[in-house]
Amino acid sequence: MAPLRKTQGFCIRRVDFSETSQVVTFYTRSEGLMRLVAKGSRRKKSATQGRIDLFACGEMVYIQKRPGTLNILAEFKPEELFDGLRHSLQQAYSAFYIAALLDRGTHEGQASAACYDFCVGMLETLASGARADVSRMVFEAHFLDELGVVPQVGRCVECSGALPGRGMVGYVVARGGPLCRECAPDDAWRVPVGALGVVEGLRRASPAAAGRISIAPKLRPFVRDILTRCMGHALELEPKMLQYLQEVRCD
């Protein structure tokens, strides 16, 4: 029999599979995304202590199957349920959004302990009632980094020339950054230089700090737009999917 393995993880998706089992997707610390069968998880008395809830987080014991087949969740004892998420639609939507990005943006076997820790930190922050809109932006900036598409901010992505200290600059999402005056075509999308600094600040922020960040109202729509466009580009997502999560206004 395949050996039992242990890791930490939280549930980002669950589908009822039969009357007694679920297929669950966990984001784990040592293996990244993992799909498992949780047998008996819809019954009250099982090794996984009832149906596994979304975002339930803790130590998991699983049997690793050969690639291409589902692993089996042998034991799961959630230590954290992030109850604070349940009390507001904004907080919950932001957590759902994190789950959606992990599901779309990472794949099985792509592990990152740092990203895992960051996600758990973000869920804690959201559950504690921190501002959902800014928290979500902190996550997005960080996750873009994880996806390898850090929005470049300091220099022109075309000529590496310096950007003006103020005013508007062209921005090319496909190139992942801004263009100086010489390189920017006339019809380029333009954003304030200040918004680029904010994006960089969000990227460097810790989950715990996310609730304390304030963004100048003038820059906010541009920051929001940069993150949405970059995320859409990185994940090859229609803006629709990103948009409906922003339908719940947090401002």
């Binding site: 819809r42 019954r43 009250k44 009832g50 149906r51 809830d53 998420l85 349940r86 507001s88 919950a92």
Partner: protein, 204 residues
């Protein structure tokens, strides 16, 4: 589906659309139906046709019914001052089987799950709020599943019902976290309803 006769292929194409039915099972079921008597096969066809022809949603509570209003809404013995909000019809059946609840229902037709594209607008929440505003209802029990989506939905509804000034309760936590109303036992449902707790206004 090549190799099969046209009718057999058609039937299999319809059968694979059913939940939990793969190509293999569809083939097995199709050949089974071919073997059974014409009467038995026609009885199944009639049952499906009647189901679609005779069932509708009750315009008051959105439960599946054969009449409008449904049997529960039109039953004069039911307590009209109390409303139990559930995610789906199967929950109504489970609670009715437990046999201790005698008020009316409101079926949401799902729960808030943005990842599946289900937002508050896709549910019957606004109709619920309208129903409560009309008056006569003293208590609303939010019996959505005790899991993340069910809790989010319940808290959102509690917030929406705030201005109406009715007592809003949630079944006691006897329902195990992450469980589903339709699968928990009768005794547990009864106890959970018995020990329901008020959601204080403005806590959503």
């Amino acid at each position: 589906m090549s190799g099969y006769t046209k009718s057999l292929g058609n039937l299999m194409e319809e059968l694979v659309k059913l939940p939990g039915v793969g190509k293999r099972s569809a083939e097995r079921l199709a050949f089974h139906l071919l073997r059974v008597s014409t009467e038995d096969a026609m009885a199944l066809a009639r049952a499906i046709r009647d189901l679609k022809k005779n069932t509708r949603l009750c315009s008051k509570c959105f439960n599946i019914a054969e009449s409008d209003p449904c049997g529960i809404c039109s039953d004069s013995r039911r307590d009209r001052t109390i409303l139990c909000v559930v995610e789906q019809t199967r929950d109504v059946i489970a609670i009715e089987e437990a046999g201790t609840y005698s008020g009316l229902y409101h079926v949401l037709q799902g729960r808030i799950a943005p990842l599946e594209g289900i937002t508050p607008e896709s549910l019957t929440i606004s109709q619920l709020v309208d129903r409560v505003k009309v008056g006569g209802i003293k208590e609303v029990i939010l019996a959505t599943n005790p899991d993340m989506e069910g809790d989010v939905t319940a808290n959102y509804i509690a917030e929406q019902l705030g201005p109406a000034g009715v007592r809003v309760t949630r079944p006691a936590r006897g329902l195990p976290a992450g469980s589903q109303v339709e699968y928990v036992g009768k005794k547990i449902i009864s106890d959970a309803f018995e020990g329901r707790q008020q959601i204080p206004p403005g806590s959503g």
